[in-house]
């Protein structure tokens, strides 16, 4: 294909070779005529925008999806991978982007599932226990084999997935965005393991969005764009800028342009906010935060440390059955933290906007048309209707404007949200929330699953809102995004604010330590600084 690929070819049979793979989901062409060659004993990176088709390609390799066309060679021999069983037998293991674990099974049960040794469980379990102990020592992958998976942290769940693959004696290990859920330290640990595996002669395919990781660990890298494989090159012979350009198809500005903040009066004040979920587990252990008009407060942290709960509580819909205490004030007015008065609709009336973390599950009704989604959450607004009835024309006019201003593609009001691409779905949510001109905007993972071009656009609009004197609370797991967008950074760990930093005064390493619960600069920790 490309010149780069030509140079990769060697005499020995490749561990994996894909030829002319295509796959469509209904009208969506997820993979188109893909060729890929991965050499034995190497780490091969795959990058590409969201929706580029990376996961689909790997799922085909693993027998989860069947390709519409194309051929797969494993170890030089053609193989029809009809199901995952075939892939496993061929020595392929995969750690999915969304883990495929049975939440209420123990680690051990999850490991042997599908790889049992006989009809009875007991022998399989005891054998697996032994193997697990050996693997744990060999690769520093410690997990309690008898712990129920839902009680494990995400990082540990990932370990279980890796152990599952190793238990099945995988020679070729596919990892789909493994570091998205890890702290920098955990990610480093994972990379050490991967290097160890490579040293043993195993082959690894690593999907990631993070160019830094590609440069750090891979031997070769392939770039996908809109379902096609646009390049395969040796990592040593390329650069992040070149990769980014290959990914998006044009030059990208990786930095946000913004002027220094001019914070005004406090908009949101949180004091001693505590929350225990329905099971009684403390998710927030005393949060103190202040956000002022005209500033962006970024909250960094590995997901699962209480950010979701914080956003939900502020958004007015704390988890069912949870117990809450503490104080929240908006524009100086105390807000109810629990009970019937604590309601998302009421919060919106008080001037709150909210771009939720999970747009597909929360921010949109996937089966509703775009125009209906523009009214979603504001369907009670007086301009959207008369009395109990809604005014479709008014809403549609409004929606058309928003769609045009936010360059949603295709610019169709009647298309169901499900049929927009992820980035455009996110634009609908962002348009709806930002154009309401809220005093306080909560943003969770604004650019998750959004292509680089749209990221630029969304970032610009967030900064504009700040410059209009609004307060913004930004939660993101992407450190780069936090660093470039925030005026002030708070790091959450285990339901607490571990510390606050100014973007100019900190490094990713420093933040990474905080995210792991280690405070390298204790002087700022106690009490948490409330004044900017």
């Amino acid at each position: 294909m490309t010149q780069a690929q030509g140079r990769l070819e060697t005499a020995a049979p490749a561990a994996i070779e894909l030829r002319a793979i295509s796959k469509a989901f209904g009208p969506v062409q997820a993979n188109r005529d893909i060729h890929l060659r991965v050499e034995r004993g190497t780490i091969h990176g795959i990058i590409g925008e969201n929706g580029a088709g990376k996961s689909t390609l790997m799922s085909i390799l693993y027998g989860f999806y069947k390709p519409d066309a194309g051929e797969i060679l494993v170890g030089g021999r053609p193989l029809t991978i009809a199901d995952s069983q075939t892939a496993i037998r061929a020595g392929i293991g995969m750690v999915f982007q969304h883990f495929k674990l049975v939440q209420n099974f123990t680690v051990l049960e999850n490991i042997i599932l599908g790889a049992e040794d006989g009809r009875l469980l007991r022998p399989s379990l005891s054998k697996a226990r032994g193997v697990l102990r050996r693997l744990a020592q060999e690769y520093e992958l410690n997990v309690d084999p008898d712990e129920v998976v839902e009680n494990l942290s995400v990082g540990h769940q990932q370990r279980v997935e890796i152990l599952k693959a190793l238990y099945r004696q995988a020679d070729i290990l596919i990892l789909d965005e493994p570091t998205g859920v890890l702290t920098p330290a955990e990610a480093d640990h994972l990379f050490r393991i991967l290097e160890g595996l490579r040293a043993e002669g195993k082959t690894i395919i690593l999907i990631t969005h993070k160019l830094r990781e590609i440069m750090e660990i891979t031997d070769t890298v392939s770039v996908m764009r809109r379902g096609e494989m646009v390049a395969s090159v040796r990592t040593a012979e390329t650069s992040p800028e070149q990769l980014a350009e290959l990914m998006v198809g044009r030059k990208v500005l990786l930095n946000v342009q913004k002027t220094p903040a001019t914070p005004g009066k406090p908009i949101l004040e949180i004091r001693g906010l505590r929350m225990a979920d329905a099971a009684g587990v403390e998710r927030l252990r005393g949060i103190d935060l202040t956000i002022r008009a005209g500033e962006i407060l970024g909250i960094a942290g590995v997901s699962g440390n209480g950010q979701t709960q914080l956003l939900e509580i502020l958004g007015g819909y704390p988890e069912k059955g949870s117990t809450l205490s503490g104080e929240i004030r908006m524009n100086g007015v105390p807000l109810p933290v629990a009970g019937a008065a604590c309601n998302a609709a009421e919060r919106r009336r008080q001037g709150l906007g909210h771009i939720p973390e999970d747009r597909q599950a929360e921010g949109l009704i996937m089966d509703f048309a775009a125009w209906e989604n523009v009214a979603f959450g504001y369907h009670d607004a007086p301009e959207y209707g008369r009395g109990p009835l809604m005014d479709r024309d008014a809403i549609r006019r409004d929606a058309e404007g928003k769609i045009a201003r936010f360059d949603v593609r295709p610019p169709s009001c009647d298309l169901a949200a499900r049929n927009f691409s992820g980035g455009n779905q996110q634009k609908i949510v962002v348009a709806r929330e930002i154009e309401r001109n809220p005093d306080l905007l909560l943003i969770g993972q604004p650019t998750r699953g959004v292509d680089i071009g749209a990221i630029e656009f969304i970032h610009k609009r967030i900064v504009e809102l700040r410059d209009a004197g609004k307060a913004i609370l930004l939660v993101s797991v992407e450190l780069d995004e936090i660093m470039s967008l925030s005026d002030r950074i708070a790091v959450m760990f285990d339901g607490r604010i571990m510390g606050e930093r100014l973007p100019g005064d900190t490094t990713t390493g420093d933040l990474g330590l905080l995210m792991a619960g280690v405070d390298a600069a204790p002087q700022t920790q106690d009490p948490p600084s409330r004044e900017p």
């Binding site: 995952s84 599908g114 790889a115």
Partner: protein
């Protein structure tokens, strides 16, 4: 209430709970594998009809029982094809199966026997003989009159007296308990009770059970482990069919002697409620169905419960199991968490 009364009520409860228990375990297999099943009622009815029909035509209850299993299995296949293969709505499929059974049984019954959907009574007599006669004659031609006669004179299940029931009967408390309550039921009662530990063992001690539970919690985990979700779910639905088949056969050939239209009378729904009450666990199923059986037995024994101040009318006593179900579901036994993938067809590609 003396000991004897208690024993009689318990004895009755055991009989009444047996079809519930079998149906409940049927639901358990199906729902543990992620396929909801409100068609238990229909499958039981179909099984009761098939069992009674074949027993009436052949004079052999074991052939009848086989037919019962087949009848229920057929409806299971419909449910499987609708909800697994074609990923249809499992509730709707269940509703359709209930209608189908209720119509087909009468239609076929009327066609075969012309008794308005009833089968002949399975007690030796002229009505039965008219049906069995030709079959016996035909069989005699093949294997001789003795064998044929022997094969065609067990139209319904009879109770089994367990060993030592007589001798132990004199031991206080335990003796009568053994002799009255435990001994003397038809074989399917013992099968039903043995199904409880067996189900527990299959579910928690075998590879099949592990996979079954996994497919009801997260089918993708099973799929990516290289095991077929479809095959597992079909197996579970088939087992559910077999158990419903036993329940139906017991109703028509064990507890009563013949089929009467709509004879399941809502037991499938009670079994479903018991399943939720049992939180989808085998031993829980035993406890829940025993409770329902006991309630009905008590209501039978005390049709107008005289509480001194007021007399509870029989209509209330008859509705008691339903009222109690609602009260139980209202969460007085804690929230029951169904299998997480329950009710959802497994869809890989949209």
């Amino acid at each position: 209430m003396d000991l004897n009364t208690v024993l009689q009520i318990l004895d009755s409860a055991v009989r009444l709970m047996t079809p519930l228990l079998l149906a409940c375990l049927a639901g358990l297999y199906s729902e543990r594998a992620g396929v909801f099943d409100i068609g238990l009622e229909g499958k039981m009815l179909m099984a009761a009809f098939s069992a009674a029909t074949v027993a009436a035509l052949t004079g052999n209850v074991w052939l009848g029982a086989m037919a019962g299993l087949l009848g229920a299995l057929m409806l299971s296949a419909v449910h499987g094809i609708a909800s697994i293969t074609f990923r249809g709505n499992q509730l709707i499929s269940g509703v359709a199966i209930n209608f189908l059974a209720s119509g087909l049984t009468v239609l076929l019954g009327q066609k075969i026997f012309g008794l308005g959907g009833r089968t002949p009574s399975l007690t030796p007599g002229a009505e039965l003989e008219a049906q069995v006669g030709p079959f016996r004659a035909w069989l005699s031609g093949i294997m001789g009159p003795d064998t044929a006669g022997w094969l065609t004179t067990t139209p319904r299940m009879t109770g089994i007296t367990l060993p030592f029931a007589e001798t132990l009967g004199n031991v206080p408390v335990i003796g009568p308990l053994y002799a009255e309550v435990i001994s003397g039921h038809t074989i399917l009662v013992y099968v039903a009770f043995l199904m409880v530990p067996l189900t527990w063992w299959v579910l928690y001690r075998t590879r099949f059970g592990l996979r079954l539970r996994a497919v009801g919690e997260n089918p993708a985990s099973v799929d990516t482990a290289g095991v077929s979700v479809t095959r597992l779910r079909f197996a579970a639905v088939a087992i559910a069919g077999l158990l419903c088949g036993l329940a139906g056969a017991y109703l028509a050939t064990g507890l009563s002697a013949g089929f009467v239209k709509e004879m399941t009378a809502g037991r499938g729904f009670i079994a479903l409620a018991a399943l939720i009450f049992a939180k989808w666990r085998p031993w829980g199923a035993l406890g829940a169905t025993f409770l329902f059986g006991l309630l009905e037995a008590v209501a039978n024994r005390y049709p107008n419960l005289d509480l001194g101040v007021i007399t509870v009318p029989s209509m209330f006593m008859n509705a008691l199991p339903y009222i109690l179900t609602v009260i139980i579901l209202a969460g007085f036994v804690g929230r029951a968490i169904p299998p997480r993938a329950g009710g959802e067809p497994y869809v890989k590609e949209r």
